[in-house]
């Protein structure tokens, strides 16, 4: 390697490494961060040093970034959705490369894949919505929306998933059970449970009914949190008080298999961005995003209360995303832009800002080990 290349090589990595402050003794752990980054790549960052240790180019995301980037249930793959909304690149985390690319578009028949709200995936199966359109001389002819199951081994659509109640839905979330035997279709009001062997509805969870007397209904959506228990999802939800018509927010934990929802109220609805569970699921964090009032919130999930809220004055500006370090001690606050602010999860003390050489979007923090 020439001296020039060696210097350039070192500079690339050093640019992504912010100097550690003397008082910065809190470590986020020894995990690995995977970040969707511009232009069209995934940055791999060592959590302990915040050094960029590699990158995975994504041809279908150039010149932007994955939209979105999704982690598979088994945490072995990343699914990157292309900028044209027609491609999915399957990234093998162990080998750090794209192992497959799927598209349903062919010639003038364009098929957009509805995966922004996450698609269902389990083993070699992917379930997602499709929006077909045929390009004609003077116009596009828009076809009906469908739900399909794609077979990654055979590289084709295996089966079409019938719409719940035969009615086409504008937006649906799709989620496989941890064992892959059930597929949950999260429709506008209710959750429909399909047997994946027959693709027929075997159960229904009527969330359109209030979970508790005096509350409005909860709208459920598929979410991905690496610290949540498989088959469960936890998040901040708002309900309408039917008497006073006020929006109230609370934290709900959905047990899909048990058809149970555990909901407790926090208070009047506030514009909170993101919701991230700590490892162990005893704490959770969120960002209050009010104009000129950006706060870090900690929820005590065992005590069912808002434990702490602190204005983010050190780096006060609109922020979009939040992730928890692999050991739960540091909060990573990022987006938009190429910086990540590190806060002590326990005290909310600002630690430092890490500057990367690229804008980053979705982040997954994988703990060390297999």
């Amino acid at each position: 390697m020439s001296a020039f290349l060696a210097v350039r090589f070192a500079a690339t990595f050093l640019a992504a490494t912010a100097p550690l402050a003397a008082q910065d003794t809190v470590s986020g752990g020894n995990g690995t961060l995977y970040l969707a980054a511009r232009p069209g790549r995934i940055l791999i960052v060592d959590e302990a040093t915040f050094r960029v240790t590699g990158e995975i180019p994504l041809a279908k995301s150039r010149p932007g970034m994955s939209y979105p980037l999704q982690l598979s249930q088994d945490r072995k793959r990343l699914l990157s959705y292309g900028l044209n909304l027609e491609d999915i690149e399957i990234v093998d985390i162990a080998t750090r490369r794209v192992v497959d690319t799927l598209t349903l578009s062919e010639g003038n028949n364009k098929v957009r894949l509805d995966c922004y709200d996450s698609c269902g995936e389990h083993g070699t199966r992917l379930a997602f919505g499709t929006r077909p359109a045929k390009k004609l001389v003077d116009r596009f002819e828009i076809g009906p929306r469908a739900l399909v199951e794609y077979d990654l081994e055979k590289k084709r659509v295996g089966r079409t998933i019938p719409w719940p109640k035969g009615e086409e839905q504008e937006r649906t979330g799709l989620l496989y059970s941890p064992d892959g035997k059930l597929l949950y279709v999260l429709a506008a009001e209710d959750v429909f449970v399909y047997d994946t062997a027959t693709l027929s509805v075997v159960d229904k969870w009527e969330l359109s009914r209030p979970v508790e007397d005096g509350f409005g209904r909860l709208e459920v959506a598929a979410t991905t949190d690496i610290n949540d228990q498989p088959g469960f999802f936890t998040g901040i939800f708002e309900v309408d008080d039917p008497v006073q018509h006020r929006r109230i927010m609370g934290i709900a934990r959905f047990d899909l298999a048990g058809k149970k929802v555990d909901f407790w109220t926090v208070g009047p609805a506030k514009p909170l961005r993101q919701f991230a569970l700590a490892p162990g699921r005893k704490k959770a964090y969120s960002i209050l995003d009010e104009i000129n009032n950006w706060e870090l919130w900690t929820f005590d999930l065992e005590g069912r209360r808002l434990e702490k809220r602190t204005p983010m004055t050190a780096t006060g500006r609109p922020r979009m995303s939040l992730a928890v370090s692999s050991n739960g001690k540091i909060l990573y606050i990022f987006g938009a832009g190429n910086t990540i602010d590190l806060y002590d999860a326990q005290t909310h003390r600002f630690l430092r800002t890490v500057t990367l050489d690229a804008e980053v979007g979705w982040m997954f923090v994988l703990p060390p080990g297999p």
Binding site: P39, L83, D289, A336, N338
Partner: protein, 125 residues
């Protein structure tokens, strides 16, 4: 003989409503615009803000971007990012080159907007 006296605003207001107290002060406080007293049975709790369509920007007014309050303090930052990214995240279709067909790599040299915005290609129709 009066045994109780109001020591806070709410008690003062109750005193006024039930027939005593400082009427002019209580009237001022009962004004919803003053924000001091909110009747629980009289929604909405918070005053309505300006109605801004389509989130952060007016699609047909290039260069005029406002936040949800009608101001600029809550806009996405860094502002240089608006040059290329808001057409995806915030639906700003008219103000950037056609990335899907004619200029697929027009921001390909721009990794971080704040430091690389000068590397964005100039695209002429």
């Amino acid at each position: 003989m009066k045994h109780l006296r109001a020591v806070n605003r709410k008690a003062d207001l109750i005193e006024h409503v039930t027939g005593g107290g400082r009427a002019e002060e209580a009237d001022a406080r009962s004004d919803p615009a003053a924000g001091d007293v909110v009747a629980l049975a009289d929604p909405p709790q918070q005053p309505q803000g300006p109605w801004v369509p389509l989130g952060c920007s007016f699609v047909f007014f290039p260069g005029w971007e406002v936040d949800k309050s009608g101001g600029t303090a809550g806009l996405c930052q860094p502002v240089e990012r608006d040059l290329f990214d808001c057409h995806i995240g915030c639906f700003w279709p008219a103000q950037v080159p056609d990335q899907l067909n004619h200029a697929p790599d027009w921001t390909g040299k721009c990794a971080a907007a704040q430091k690389d915005w000068r590397k964005i290609d100039l695209i002429f129709p």
